[in-house]
Every structure is written in structure tokens, then in C-alpha cells.
Amino acid sequence: MPNVHGILNLIMLAVTIWCYWRILGKSGFNRWWSYLLLLSLVIVYLSGVFRSPVFIYAPYFIPTIMIWVFAYIRWPSYEEGHDPARSRAFAQQGRDRRDQMPSADPHRTAKPGFTHASSLHGAKRGKTKKNS
């Protein structure tokens, strides 16, 4: 039974790390900060080894610090002049127009269809003029 309890705790920790991964990405931070939660495992282990009375509360130390810091630190994606193209949170392949507010993007469509690059320049594909 203690094994089941430990596995459930590990699953909850994994889910929490994944959630923090998304939250930190949204707010413009490096997502790898979410792995700080793994320090909770270290603290739990050490408090168990030394039979510390804080064993029960040990898993909550790191999340508490992270939440307090996150609440009061500036969020990079909310900063004016933040370049989303440089942020891994907004990294995308191909054309990326997320650097503009949706309302300010005149080319935004509900269902953007495929447009060949040559058609943007007025050229027709497969037809080339032969010089005689």
C-alpha cells in the first residue's frame, strides 16, 4: 500500500510539473523552471532519512515558494516590447502571425487556406516564358 501511495504522489507530481510547464510558457518564462518541483522529491527524501517532523509538509515547500515568486515577479509575455518570436513558448514552424494581436491582424482569417507562394507574386506555376 505505501508503494501505491508513492506512485500516486509521483503521478500527481508529474501532472503538476506538466501544468507548471504550460503556465510558465504562457507567461513567457523558460519552461524548464517547472522542473524545480523535482526538488520536492529531494526534500521529502532527506526529511525521511533524517526522520524530520516536517516530512508531511515537505512536498509543499517548493510549490509555495514558486507560487509566491510567480505572483509578484514580472511576466515577460505581458511586457511591452516582448518579442514572442524569440520565446520558445511561441515558436512555430512556418508563418507565425502570433506576434500581433488577433484584432490588429488584417490577414487573420477563420480558416486560412493553402496559398502557394508563387501566387502571392502574380506568377503562374508551371508556365515559364521562353525567349525566342
Binding site: 500527481m12 501532472v15 503538476t16 506538466w18 501544468c19 507548471y20 510547464w21 504550460r22 503556465i23 504562457k26 508531511i56 509538509y57 509543499y60 510549490p63 509555495t64 507560487i67 509566491w68 510567480f70 505572483a71 509578484y72 511576466w75 509575455s77 505581458y78 516582448h82 514572442p84 511561441f90 502570433r98 506576434d99 494581436m101 488577433p102
Partner: protein, 61 residues
Amino acid sequence: MHLIVGSLIFALVVIYPLLRIYRRAGMPWWPAMVIFIPIIGPPITAYLLAMSRWPSHPFGR
């Protein structure tokens, strides 16, 4: 019993900055109250924040 007490103490310590985070994200305050559910409350709160669209986000995420 100790787990429930620890979880509730954690919720009391964290509820104020959590409300601030929800407010900064533009979300209503009441989903933050889920954190008072013992043991599974904190992951659910993080899940709600992670999966919701943040209304005040500059890029609509």
C-alpha cells in the same frame, strides 16, 4: 489526517498569491478556491490555470 492538515495549511498560505495570479491572468477568482480540496486540490488548480485561455494575455493564449 496529517496529509489533510498539511494540504489545508498549504492552501491557506498560497491562496493570496494564487488569487493574484488568477487576477493577472484575467480569470475569475473562484476556480482558485479548488485548492482547498485536500491533496488533489493543488494539481487541479494548476491544471485549470494551465489549460484555460487567459483573457488578459497579450497574445490571446
